[in-house]
Every structure is written in C-alpha cells, then in structure tokens.
Symmetry: C2
Subunit: 347 residues, 2 copies
C-alpha cells in the first residue's frame, strides 16, 4: 500500500459524493488512482480532483477491478446491487446506505466509538445513519464511564439528509413563499420552508419511522449495548445541512454534570460549545462545514436525578456521512485492514 490506494467513489455526483472527494483531497488521503462511478444518468460528467479532471463512469459489474476501497453513497439499491461484485473483486466497500448496517457480519463503525469493529469486516463496512453518528460521538464518552440506560431524543434534521435536491427545494420554496406564492413540493412530501414535519421515512407497525428505528438499532449495535432503551422523534426542519438533537440520557445512578462536560470536552470528534452567560450554544450555522459535533447545554435533568440532558448540532453531510466514511477508510489504511480483508476474501 506504500504506493497508495486505488479508490472508487460510487455516487460521485451526489451531495455526499462531492463531500467525499473534497475530504479525500483536504485530508490528503493516499489516493493512487481515483475512479468515479455513478448511475448511467450522471455518467460522462467531469469532476476535478487535485490536478486531474476525471470522467464519471456508469457503474457496471466489472467496475471494481484493482480497486482497494469503494466509498459508496448511491443509495441502498445500488449498494445492494454492486457491493458483492466489489468485494468479489477484492475491494473493501465502505457503504453509506442502510442496506447492510444491521447485517451481523457487517461492522457498523464510528471510528471514535468502535474502531475495533472494523477489523472484523468481511469486505463491507457500513457507515451509520447520520443522526445516529452525531448522537453517538456526543454521548459515547459518557456511556464509557457509566452505561446509558435510556435515551429520549428529539431531532431537528436539515434538508441535506434528503439530498442535494431537497436542499435546493427549501431555497426555491422560501423564495416563492416570500413572493406570496404557494409552491408545490416536489422532492420532499410537504413544504419545508417556514414549516417542519415528522421524518417521512416509512412507518413501521410500532409507529416509529425507519429513521427513528435507525437511531434505536444502530446506536445499540455501535455501542455493543443491546440493552440500551431508545426512543426517537425525528423531525425535518428548514435548515440546510446541519442536524440538531435534544437528548435526554438516563443512567442507573446520578452522573456528575461537571464530569460529563469534562468527558465531552476531552472526547475526539466533539467540541463543547456553551457560554451560559451569553446564552450561546450550538447552532446549525456554526456546525456547517465543521468536522466536530458541537455539544452544549449539558445539564442535570431537573425531572430525574439520574438523568442528564444535552443539545448538539453536527454537519449532516460531513460527520453525519462523508467524514465518517473517510475516517473508516483512514482506519483501514492505518491498521492495515485492507490486506487482511483481501486475504480473507480470497481464501
């Protein structure tokens, strides 16, 4: 690997794909060759990477020869269709979709939380749901010290979670509404500008939507703590690209707030942002473009002696998706986990 890694980005033209490319550049990932893959619709477009101009190719079954790492962010059905081909060709797939996240033989990795899980991969590593990653990096430092018993979380999720076209729709909608028009939503199911609504992923029999159940199930898997009880209310808000979350954490015993702040301050991937005198706490506009999840309003819950509350904002496209995937790729290189995987898949 000393001469670099052959990387393919699948879904190169999407919001997350674009961020993946920017991060490969800015973090000086040791890219040897970069292959850009997308749906036939997006094939042919040209994207600049470092000093090269690279043409986006339509993804095919044989797109993965000589690729070491596939960074996939083209949606669940594309990942399902091509991940096994990539793995068969010897690549490790870091998949942004939800397709494989709950598979027993697929590690679900947030490098700040469970880097060791990456070593168990059988060719696919899943990148968790965005709201789950952001919550995880913020609360895991506390969980390590005293296990969390129960989480009650309400989210304030940006348009970016529904893709670049949803982000654009919020802006054109706002423009139209300010002119007195009543625009018809096209990408999102309901108007989002100057409005908000519960997350529109399919609802299960238990009346939780898929987004909410991702927070429940993925948190348990990443924390390796199936006993944590989680309830989530996921709401889409008219913000462009940073999610916010109001989190209530119940422990078995009281958790000293000063200690909690200290742990969060010292934790990787998290930044404590709270100025109680100025009433200044994390906001989406401050989290946008930041690697760290901003956490503040860490306080004793006055309604329950063994509970704490906190508030966070994190860039949905960056740590919520692309950055976490790149960090997994960096982990594979650093710990020499690509070779291991290649050996395993060729056995």
């Amino acid at each position: 690997m000393s001469d670099g890694i052959n990387v393919a980005v699948l879904g190169a033209t999407g919001a997350v794909g674009q961020e993946l490319l920017a991060l490969l550049e800015s973090r000086q990932f040791p890219v040897k060759n970069l292959t850009l893959l997308a749906s036939p619709r997006s094939a042919g477009s040209k994207i600049k990477f470092l000093n090269q101009e690279i043409t986006v190719e339509a993804v095919k079954d044989d797109s993965f020869q000589d690729i070491d790492i596939v960074l996939a962010s083209a949606g669940g059905s594309t990942s399902k269709a091509y991940a096994s081909k990539a793995v068969a060709a010897g690549a490790v797939v870091i998949d942004n979709s939800s397709a494989f996240r709950m598979d027993d033989d697929v590690p679900l990795v947030v490098p700040e939380i469970n880097p060791e899980a990456a070593a168990q991969h059988q060719g696919i590593i899943a990148n968790p749901n965005c709201t789950t990653i952001l919550m995880g990096v913020a609360i895991h430092p506390l969980h390590k010290v005293q296990p969390i018993k129960r989480i009650v979380v309400s989210t304030y999720q940006s348009a970016s979670g529904a893709g670049a076209r949803a982000m654009a729709e919020v802006e054109t909608q706002a423009q139209a509404i300010l002119k007195g028009e009543t625009p018809k939503p096209e990408i999102l199911p309901y108007p989002l500008a100057f409005n908000l609504f519960p997350h529109n992923s399919p609802l299960g029999d238990n009346h939780y939507c898929q987004e909410e159940m991702k927070m429940v199930n993925e948190t348990r898997k990443i924390f390796e703590a199936p006993e944590i009880r989680v309830t989530a209310t996921c709401i889409r808000v008219p913000v462009l690209r940073a999610h916010s979350e109001a989190i209530n954490l119940e422990f078995a015993h009281p958790f000293d707030v000063a200690k909690a702040r200290e742990l969060i301050s010292a934790a990787p991937g998290v930044k404590l942002v709270e100025d109680w005198d100025k009433n200044y706490f994390p906001m989406p506009i401050d989290a946008t473009g930041e690697d760290d999840v901003l956490v503040g309003r860490v306080r004793q819950d006055i309604s329950h002696e063994s509970s704490l509350e906190l508030w966070l904002c994190g860039d949905q496209i960056r740590k919520g998706a692309a950055l976490n995937a790149i960090q997994i790729a960096e982990l594979l290189v650093e710990k020499d986990l690509l070779k291991l995987s290649q050996k395993m898949t060729t056995v």
Copy 2:
C-alpha cells in the same frame, strides 16, 4: 351585563393585540365599548373594529374607569405598572404576560383544563405561556384518566413568540440569505432563517431558561399537580406562527394507546390529526390560523412500557395567547364572574 361589556385591550397594536381584536369580532364577544390602549409610542394610530374606527390611546393610571375587562398583552412591566390600577377601578385583568402567573392569588387558567380556577380571581387572571397552553390542552385529557408522572418535552417554537418584529425579521433574513448576503440579526439574538437556536430567555442557576421553567411551573399550577416532574428543551425554529412540541409522557402504569387517541379526539380544543398510511401528521402550516391544537403520532414509547409519546402543532398567537385570553373573558361573562370580582374588590 345584558347591555354588554366594556373591554379595554392593552397592547392593541402588537401581534397578540391584533389577534385579540379579530377574535372579539369573529366570536361576537358582547362588547359594549372598546378602549384601545398602548404605549405612548403607538398612541394615535387608528384601528378598525366592527364598523368603528378607534383611536389608540396612551395607557395612563386613569385609563380604566368604567372598564369591565382588560385584555393585557403589552409585556410584563406594563402589566405590573397598570394591573393594580385597573383592578382598583373595578376591572378584571386577563393578563398575557408572565408577571403574575405564579402569584398564589392569581388564577392561571386554560378554560379546557381548569375553568373553575377562574372563579377564585381577585381581579387578575393570568393567561399561561404559549407552549404551556398548547401542551396542556393536548395532554390534560390523558392526565385526567391517569395522572402523568413525568414529561420530557422538546419544542420547535416559531418566531411569533418573540413578537411581530421577529416574524418580519425571519422573512427579511431569509430574503437576504437567498441573495447571498449575511444579514445581522436585530430583534432575535442570532440568525433564525435557515437556522435554529435554544430559546434565548434568561438562564437560571439550574441551567434551564425562563421559557423552559414556565413549562415546568405553569403546567404544575394549571394541572394542580405540583408532583408532576417536567423537563423541557425549548428551541426557536424558522417557522412564522405555530409552535410544535415532541412530548414524552410517563405514567405509573401502561396507558392504552387506543384509549389515549380516543380521549384526545373527544377533548375540547384539540384535534387528532394522524394518517399513518400517508405519513401525515400535524405541521405548523396546518395549525396556523386554527383554534384547535393539532395532535398526532400518539404512540406507545418503545423505550418505556408506561410511557406514551405524541407530537403537536398549535397556533402560537391564537390558542397560545389571544384565543385563550378571549376564552377566559367568555368564561367570566358566562359564569357571571365579573360581578363577583367587582363585589370583592369593592368590599
């Protein structure tokens, strides 16, 4: 009173004042004479009411002669300065500010919840905080059947809670941001368009802001249930005039969800809005201009067997403020509680 009620609106030119006037008209409140009062700054402006044009007068100590009901929405300091003058002159003051809400001899009334409390007034009746009213009408039908033990609520509060100028600021901010500008916030402390932030009311030593503590303390007082434990995270969102709330309710024993839906459906002031097949639930744009609080997503909390969750949206200016005040005035007339008060204050 058969010949009508002499009504004064204090703060007639504000967002809530305007809504009070619209509701006095549309609900055909038996107004005999209407006096419009405001700060000297707003005095002299003319407002149409029914077929009259009424000139707004600067409020003075002797503004309350022959007034039966004062609807006050001019802020806490104005209420503190003039309420006792109005009561001394024989009026009943229905006060929208937080000035008297927690006073032991001031009833805090939501007519759907504790109408009987109004009868105890000594000249002043307080109209509760907007988020508290909206939550109260939604959850009290359940509390009556099985007492609520604990509430964990996260709010999504519209700009209207900070007044008409904050609403205008969100729109001009959005306009500027869409043009690529970076507007300076003037009314609100931080940009709100395409952003959100924790409620900026002053923070207490317990690290809860005043808005949050209103939800805690006023809910207990209205419900006459000082034992309810409440924690609230109040967040300002870029929505114009309807608040939303994600509410988690803990009971001592499991609460049947079907029964909860039935109770909410049958309750006054509340409308159950949930289409699980279409993923359609209350939204601020649907609650705007509505009298009822829209409630949906009533479900069993999967993290706690004795807890339920629900989601609501309610018009902050209407049921959150003006409508509730008018309903209190209607109650006073209907139950003949003005006379009682006048007798008491003249003894």
